[in-house]
């Protein structure tokens, strides 16, 4: 239970590399915040600065209103689940979970009761006497969480906790973590490079790239209103299609002209494009695969080309189409089987088109 505030935090490593640049973030009491971004974007560094494992080069960190920059990790009352679990190899599961309480000189009987409580909630009761070396990945993961839970810390930090698990277990643990958050009702900061994980777990997602925050938003907004091309491409699978287009005004309508056709912008987007002075200029268009549709008549064709790969996923199919505008991916639920080389004409749901400034890559239609 803590409010954590990062104010213009920068991390410069000894070699001069800036891993985190001027990051500001307000994490409210009992909030579940997810830091997501590609590998090397500074997620772990940010988390480790909050935990006190890494010095803060510049800026301020407040926990419950108190400046924490120079407070040792021992005194921050924050628990962390490490990517490789970092269980104490020579201690049993019981001792691993009990360790922080033992240090606090809490009476043995109380420790025992709390360890059993935690072990029960995580399904670890049978394993209390085992050493970490005798556990599977998923079990180690649970022990690592148990070690964090038992302390009732101010905040939980998790650094890619599921990345060492296989896909099935990952899905299962994701549900358990969500459940844990509901039960504990504490501040969670969760780091992952996996956008699916972020989208399914989070209410507040922080997208990072190259040490900088790109966007802080909920999953729906991240998906529908990405602030720039990076976020648009990073969130969602298969990734958004990007294409070159020219913004033009025809018969009082604002349209995006692609190599093979045109997309008519709705009033809201048209207004933004006019406002921004984009008429007559080159822009980058973006459309998610699920918003690419088959062109019924020749009229509204935006892309045309040949089927390259056809992946049938059961209720839907992913079709990779080689078009004049490059590869366009379509995710459709109208399952119709295509062969490699089949000719296909594509259209888009115009309301779902994103338009980006080709220079700054910022979204111009939000």
């Amino acid at each position: 239970m803590a409010e954590i505030i990062l104010k213009n935090i920068t991390k410069e490593y000894e070699n001069g590399f800036q891993a985190v640049k001027n990051v500001s973030l307000d994490i409210k009491d009992n909030e579940f915040v997810i830091l997501v971004g590609p590998s090397g974007c500074g997620k772990s560094t940010t988390l480790r600065m909050i935990a006190g494992l890494e010095d803060i080069s510049d800026g301020d960190l407040f926990i419950d209103g108190e400046r924490m920059n120079d407070v040792a990790p021992q005194h921050r009352d924050i628990a962390m689940v490490f990517q490789n679990y970092a269980l104490y190899p020579h201690m049993s599961v019981y001792q691993n979970i009990a360790y922080s309480l033992k240090i606090k000189k809490i009476p043995k009987s109380e420790i025992d009761q709390r360890v059993h409580e935690v072990a029960k909630s995580l399904g670890l009761e049978e394993l209390l006497d085992r050493k970490p070396g005798q556990l599977s990945g998923g079990q180690k993961q649970r022990v690592a969480m148990g070690r964090a839970i038992i302390r009732h810390p101010k905040a939980f930090l998790m650094d890619e906790p599921l990345s060492n698990l296989d896909a099935k277990l990952r899905g299962q643990m994701r549900v358990e973590i969500a459940d844990l958050y509901q039960r504990l009702n504490t501040t969670f900061i969760y780091v992952t490079h996996d956008q699916t994980e972020a989208m399914t777990l989070g209410t507040k997602i922080v997208v990072m790239k190259d040490g900088e925050i790109q966007q802080i938003d909920n999953p729906t907004n991240l998906f529908s209103y990405p602030v720039n091309k990076f976020v648009a491409g990073f969130i969602g699978t298969p990734t958004m299609n990007f294409f070159e287009a020219e913004c033009a005004e025809e018969n009082g309508l604002v349209v995006l002209k692609t190599v093979a056709g045109r997309i008519v912008m709705n009033d809201a987007k048209a207004a933004k494009l006019r406002e921004g002075g984009w008429i007559g200029k080159k822009v980058t268009g973006g459309i998610r695969p699920e918003h690419v549709i088959l062109s019924q008549d020749g009229e509204n064709t935006v892309f045309s080309g040949k089927v390259n790969v056809f992946e049938l996923l059961g209720s839907n199919a992913i079709i990779y189409v080689e078009t004049e505008a490059g590869m366009i991916v379509m995710n459709t639920s109208q399952v119709q089987v295509y062969e490699h080389g089949d000719k296909i004409a594509l259209s888009v749901i115009a309301d779902k088109v994103h338009v980006f400034d080709p220079e700054t890559e910022r979204t111009v239609t939000n």
Binding site: L53, P73, A79, Y88, H90, Y99, I103, K104, R147
Partner: protein
């Protein structure tokens, strides 16, 4: 009808034996010639009255052992061996670890320092010991010069039976310190950094971290060093020979040195080999005890 099955099993287990022997033999031959045969020979000789020179000798049964166990000199030497072994083992391990902890973080000149501390280990013990006889000189030796400078009264070092054992122990510890340090350095570097971070977040102090994380993680190295140092101490000869020759008045006579004196100075090879056999049993016994005990405190 299980005989054929057993036979086949037996056959399968041993049909690779010739091949295995072919590869192992080159290593086995020196072992047999220089180790197993001499041990067996020693055990045999300990039941004789050979004087090291005569071509003939008689089997005397347990006589050598009986007189050994009636000889106060033997128990004195046994006591000295225990004092010497414990006196070298504990400081070598403790100080070796302290040095490793100080030097594990690289700083300017730490490489040179490590090399200097390690160099006694690769210098012949005889050479080291000769230098230490100068250091220990009662008049004008460095040891006493330092003591006087510190305001303490000078000691007689290797010339007094009160301090001779201490002097030999100091030389031995000084020599093996760097060796222990090198092993501890690599052990400390192998402790995963994440463990230190996890334990810090769990709220442990530096002190607790050392006892709860560092020591258990390096326990296999501690165990290895305990065995090696113990065996080395039981076999120490060079420094005793150069520094004190077992004296003054037998105060540095260990079992090994007693063996040497009995065999090569008093030409009582039967007695000497009896001492050697006792030493072998002692070494094996102590090793077994250490291995048994290690199950409790060594974490692999």
């Amino acid at each position: 009808m299980s005989t054929p099955k057993v036979k086949r099993k037996f056959k399968r287990r041993y049909d690779k034996l010739p091949t295995v022997l072919l590869f192992v033999l080159p290593a086995l031959i020196p072992l047999i010639v220089f180790w197993i045969y001499p041990i067996c020979r020693s055990v045999y000789l300990s039941f004789t009255n050979w004087d090291f020179i005569s071509p003939t000798y008689k089997i005397v049964g347990l006589k050598n052992y009986i007189s050994l166990f009636r000889n106060p000199r033997f128990f004195e030497a046994l006591g000295h061996t225990v004092v010497f072994t414990a006196g070298t083992l504990i400081p070598t391990i403790v100080l070796g670890l302290v040095l490793a902890l100080l030097l594990v973080r690289n700083f300017h000149g730490s490489g040179i320092l490590k090399f200097i501390l390690f160099s006694p280990w690769i210098t012949p013990t005889v050479a080291i010991s000769i230098v230490w006889t100068w250091i220990y000189k009662t008049d004008g030796g460095i040891a006493n010069t330092i003591l006087t400078a510190l305001g303490a009264s000078p000691l007689k070092w290797i010339s007094s039976s009160d301090t001779a054992m201490l002097s030999v122990i100091i030389v031995t510890v000084w020599k093996s310190l760097g060796y222990a340090m090198i092993f501890y350095l690599s052990a400390l570097e192998r402790v995963p950094g994440e463990l230190y971070e996890a334990v810090a977040l769990d709220g442990a102090s530096k002190w607790r971290t050392f006892f709860d994380i560092t020591l258990p993680c390096i326990s296999p190295t501690t165990f290895f060093l305990m065995i090696i140092t113990m065996v080395n101490s039981l076999q120490a000869y060079d420094q005793i020979q150069v520094l004190t020759q077992g004296g003054p008045s037998g105060s540095t006579r260990t079992l090994l040195y007693m063996y040497y004196q009995l065999g090569f100075q008093e030409f009582n090879m039967g007695q000497a080999t009896a001492v050697a056999v006792v030493m072998i049993l002692l070494t094996v016994g102590l090793s077994v005890i250490q291995f048994k005990a290690s199950e409790k405190w060594v974490h692999y």
